[in-house]
Symmetry: C2
Subunit: 109 residues, 2 copies
Amino acid sequence: MGRQMTEMLKGTLEGIVLALLTGNPAYGYEITTLLRRQGFTEIAEGTVYALLVRIEQKGLVDVEKRPSEKGPPRKVYSLNEQGEKELDEFWNTWSFLSERLEQLRKGGK
Amino acid sequence: MGRQMTEMLKGTLEGIVLALLTGNPAYGYEITTLLRRQGFTEIAEGTVYALLVRIEQKGLVDVEKRPSEKGPPRKVYSLNEQGEKELDEFWNTWSFLSERLEQLRKGGK
DNA sequence: ACTGGTACATAGTACCGCTAAGTAGTGGAG
DNA sequence: CTCCACTACTTAGCGGTACTATGTACCAGT
């Protein structure tokens, strides 16, 4: 992946995954394919799983293990209350940054 | 600074500084105060200087040393051709990410 | 002499995405 | 029945970037 994109994803990828999870529980492999379908074609699998471990340890998601027809059991993640709070803050942070950048792009010094 | 903002700035702060520099050469201390005035009130001074060293080593800016009325000489940075190219790519990367996130925010799965 | 503003530098830390490799289960092709 | 492809998760080590903390240096006003 491009160096710029890699750096820019730091901090935002977590928010993206939390957003994907709202009202839509999903498991790791599924999330990876979802991301790829959204255009993030080069997101590494390992990155997603590591991120999921992190947000679980931070208590932003609840986890349920379910058997799969194919392969090992799935770990299904669903956003909990704390996760929604974190997502709210994420959107706030994003909005701030986004507005500043759009202003800069229009040449607003 | 908030943990989220810190992470989100990774990758974008460089672009922000490059954008500030377009058609407007500036020195480190000045850039820091500019950023603070733009709302990035908690950007650490050291962060800016480290970033400037980095973009200079990457060859994105030209540097000129000028005496200051007050304090040590200033290092004035101006965007060069390569820097403009990098900034272009930054805006492309940013646009991509920005569009995906706005789509997500509107609930577009 | 001291304080505060100007101006730059850097060593150490933490976080996060990536690379690379591995484990494990199922099903189909040869 | 063996191998390969797909599903599904895990982990060790690396690199890049922002932060913390501290230091250096120069000048003005009190």
